[in-house]
Amino acid sequence: VHPLDLAIVTAYMAGMLGIGAYVAGRITGFRDYFIAGGRMTTPLLVCTLVSTYYGLDVLLGGSEVAYQEGVVAWFFYARPYYFAILVAALFVAPRLKRHRDALSLPDIAAAYYGRGTQATIAAASFLYAIPLMAIMGIGVLLETVLDIPFVWGVAIGAGVSVAYTLLGGLVASALTDTVQFTLMCVTLGIAAALELRAQGGWDALEAALPATFLNPAGTYPVWILVVFGLSALSVFVEPAFYQRIFAAVSYRAVLVALGIGVVLWAAFDWIVTVLGMAAAAQGLEVDPTYALLTVTMDALPVGLTGLFLAGVIAVAMSTIDSYLLIAGGNLAYDLYRPLARPAMSGDEALRLTRWGIGVAAVVSVVLALFFSTIVSAWIFMSTMLISAALVPLMAALYLPRRPRPAAGLASSVAGLLSALAFFVVVNVHGAFDEEWSTTIWEATLFGREVAIWQEYAVLVALPVSLLAFAAGQLAGRAPAPGARP
């Protein structure tokens, strides 16, 4: 790497820390720290929504699928999310905006079902939010590209984002997101244009790829496509999405921001897909996870390489900061407060959330060692969240009559436990499959051989959660009259 590129990356890191230090002096309480005092405007929301939701897991996961399978990465891995986001913007966001006191996803569960459901959903949200792959990804990235030893890479990359999040909370996260968002989009766009030119245009790219690469469904088994599609349901219970809705100055600001966001996500995902396919067309023999990085670094000149690297680090850091904030809040505000200290003061919530952020950062690094690919980690995390939170929260927001507290608790606990049990069983009985880079259990059910992927967990856990909700509605006591919300 050229010294100029290195200087750009260093200046970027220093700038992020500077923003955190600047904001830290202006934080006046927990609400300020956690939802920016509820005064985020449209452009700030666009930047923070787009860059937060775009982590290394999506960037590298999307290009990993594209490198191995082609345009299916966009059609089935990415596209269902845009539909889910539009539905969430039109139907979920306005209902959430009515809850003026809510600060987080588990707050909504607490308002309808009580502390048990709040704690279960907070645990699922924590599992979902810990940015394990982004933290590991930054370490691998700095090691691969800058020859910085892995441990130091993790310490520098994650350390910087942890530092400014600890200092400035959501305001620091969102302000850094504006820079990160611009950097990541523009550098990726330029990289794609240069790479396409280097490949000799689209036609040359297409000619170098197997015909199946342009098949929207690729060669994945149909149930995996269903699972990819179902994982988009996580949008309806996405803690970062909820937090930003509560932080927005108005519902209109959320709606416009998500509209712009969908256009940007669609463009970004497509370019990631094209770059993954470009790596395959070049015949690069690389770890599929890093196909995009390899092909892009080759295509860019000095100076732009540094900007691109800063852009990729930005992709990771914008995710790390936001989700560490959420995970830290889950531990302190959503779990510890209701279970142990209901009368927690704002200052104490602020202090404990900062400790929670530190704990979440450590847990992220430890868990990252368990997963072999970024795609499987992403599916695992969204499965946990969907299984525990989707049924009770959508029922709370949409049933004509207020659901029974027992239904929320039964549904969230049964969903979470059945998803965890499914992953454990498949990992105990199954074996890692090199071709698909995931764990598959070749089981015999009713005399038939079936391949059960660990990704199928949501197909079991979601119906279990729904049945448990129905059982809770039948057997549980009605909510106390006059109770919130």
Binding site: P43, T178, I190, D203, A267
Partner: protein, 51 residues
């Protein structure tokens, strides 16, 4: 030009142009906050809850 190629160039244009416009919009918001704060002599952006 195939639909794939057209969509690729549209995507590249969106990625280069839209973020710059949004960033400019954000800077304009910041300038307005700063102007309001100076006129009011208040504590900071949105200190009255309006942003």
């Amino acid at each position: 030009v195939s639909a794939w190629e057209l969509w690729t160039w549209v995507s590249i244009s969106v990625l280069v142009v839209v973020p710059v416009v949004v960033f400019g919009w954000f800077l304009r918001d910041v300038a307005q906050w700063t102007g309001r704060r100076e006129r009011r002599g208040g504590d900071g952006p949105g200190s009255d809850g309006t942003g």
